[in-house]
Symmetry: C2
Subunit: 364 residues, 2 copies
DNA sequence: ATGGTGTGCAACATCGATTGTGCAAACTCC
DNA sequence: GGAGTTTGCACAATCGATGTTGCACACCAT
């Protein structure tokens, strides 16, 4: 019991009266190929089991230069990324490998350093989620010959899976404008009689695409879009609070519709909104491009777009495993359509291009 | 450029006209101890740099039997655990090691298997958060001589850091009962004129302690506690919805106070609460033993207890690094006291034993 | 008996870094 | 100038598992 720990194949070999190589073959399953008698293999496996042997994975990885580690780099542990991480973990473990999840805090240097680190661990594959500097990272991986894939933030040099932000934004905008109709029974032409886009970062493709989708639909519905309606200035919660507060001042009240880009912005905006009287809130149609369960339970209805994290991750694995060339695959999000009265949501998956028909259609 | 990759110290040695051992010493910083001339060391480091050398960590780990990996096992990626993970990551990287975060889905077998896996990776230390079967895991780690520590769920056999659930619950209960007074201007003696405890799992110490704290304060305030007031039946969201719905039926309305144990239960309860008219909600004082930012922004005030994840993790590191014997260290949570009118919260740290004074006191 | 074909396993080199040991050359000191 | 010390580095063993090679033996057919 209190003997020195850490059995090795040599210990087992000794106890089994066999050679280390035989033990190795027996234990790693290659014994059939290596023409070890079944009896021998079973005997060795038995001994290993009751000796509590477990292989030294460093040694194995050193020898085989495959570590069985698969890593995921993400910016932070928010709801969306955490969901991604969860799904990722499951998928990796289903493949009998070990998931490693690292947050790099949106710091490009941290990202580079982490990739370098992981390279030294002969990581088997690498997932980048919401990465800050995709191209550079891809080159780094290519140099180290590490298969990799990008999720949520596309990369020109590697397979990528992203949400169809443009279409999602279009549909969310459509839904917001419908609610506006219902709430107002018609729409005037004042500066408040339109939808404002709040939050995001225009240097990121996802924000750009959402703005594009927003714009598409605004032009389709209202015939025009004043650039001043797009306040894609920040993902920061506190700044968002300020932005909407300023907007409120400027307009002399809430606009009739708000397109809120991400849950952090949502939270920031809510800090301000919570101070407003009920009837003002109920005169505005809200949409959030992110899913936040509590959003369904506020004192006013909020439509929400939810990215399909499971699908995103699964497609990413598919691309990785099929050794895909650099392509960008788009996944349609779901919309949580808020009942205006109940605050209860109806979940509706979205088909590609569905918005263009002017209708949200359920898939068959 | 397109040559075979993966430089080794042998390659560098060749190019530097030195021996591999000299290169090794130069690169890993031990060159001073090994009496390598500074000039030589610098020359080698220079060459390594522009050759893009990076050490094979498997080889190093195999030789030194220290991997530089520190792992965290947690049940799932919810808000609390994700925060823990975030803090953990930072702390580990601050120590120049590599954080590994794995979720085991509340499955004891998964936990055991994962620990076994990590053992094989010669992990340097192991953090268990909210583990299901602490004692068994501790024994496993002891056998493998892996330093380890428990967070949030205590273990009798290893150092543990947990939130002072009992005191937190006491204070939350106190806060709820205060709100009740304010809302009702006095409290009757009907079955609804009291606080109900909703959610949790009595097989877990945390729930037991929270129930104990709840009970302490109820007896202090009301003189008695009917066991039927404690519905610590589940952490499951859907079950929680059902439980509160049943309670509502049974009592013919909401009780005057609700102690909600965890955010998942909160979310479940809200699904039901969202269907109630405003005045019923405003006649009930809510408290949640978990922090959920959106909770501050509902149409009724909710007091919340927030565990100090940063402190929990930091104390855990402290215990680990001081090679602590099995002790259980308690960390006081914070309370987010909801303004009854505004829904805005006041954050108040809690001192140990503060509740017993009948007052919540700020630390000095 | 002889050669040919399988079968079952052991020997040994190897992955890349670390580290104890040894040994020249340079440098002291009397 | 010879003994002793220091400086600077190379050699070689080692961590534990893998996989190629090769050898001994058994079995079969001619």
């Amino acid at each position: 019991m209190t003997e020195k720990n850490k059995k090795t194949i040599y210990d087992i070999a000794l106890r089994a009266g066999a050679s280390p190589s035989t033990v190795s073959a027996a234990l790693n399953g290659t014994w059939k190929k290596r023409r070890i008698a079944q009896a021998t293999a079973e005997r060795i496996i038995g001994i290993a089991n009751d000796d509590g042997y477990s292989a030294n994975l460093q040694a194995r990885a050193l020898r085989t230069s495959r570590s069985g580690l698969v890593a995921l780099l993400m910016p932070e542990y928010n709801r969306f990324f955490s969901n991604i991480a969860q799904t990722f973990s499951r998928e990796v473990r289903a493949r009998n490998q070990c998931p490693i999840i690292i947050s790099t805090e949106r710091n490009p240097d941290e990202e580079r350093a982490t990739v370098a680190d992981l390279t030294s661990w002969s990581i088997d594959a690498l997932f980048f989620v919401g990465s800050v500097a995709p191209e550079e990272l891809s080159l780094q991986c290519q140099a180290a010959e590490i298969p990799h894939v990008f999720v949520d933030q596309p990369c020109a040099l590697a397979p990528s899976v992203i949400t169809d932000n443009r279409n999602g934004a279009r549909i969310l905008t459509q839904e917001i404008s419908r609610s506006m109709m219902r709430l107002a029974g018609g729409i005037g032409t004042g500066p408040r009689d339109t939808i404002y886009f709040l939050g995001g970062d225009r240097s990121l493709p996802s924000t750009r695409n959402r703005v594009a989708g927003f714009s598409d639909e605004m032009i389709a519905q209202f015939g025009r879009l004043d650039p001043g309606q797009v306040l894609a200035t920040t993902y920061d919660m506190d700044v968002a609070t300020q932005t909407i507060s300023d907007l409120y001042e400027r307009l002399g009240g809430l606009p009739r519709g708000l397109f809120i880009n991400s849950d952090s912005v949502f939270e920031g905006a809510l800090r301000f909104l919570a101070t407003l009287p009920e009837d003002e809130l109920n005169a505005c149609a809200f949409g959030c491009f992110d899913y936040e369960p509590f959003g369904q339970l506020l004192r006013f209805p909020v439509h929400m777009i939810r990215q399909r994290h499971k699908m995103l991750v699964q497609r990413a694995f598919a691309l990785l495993e099929s050794n895909s060339p650099p392509v960008i695959e788009q996944v349609q999000p779901e919309i949580y359509r808020a009942g205006v009265m109940t605050g209860q949501a109806t979940v509706v998956p979205i088909r590609p291009g569905a918005a263009s028909s002017g209708e949200i259609t359920n898939p068959v």
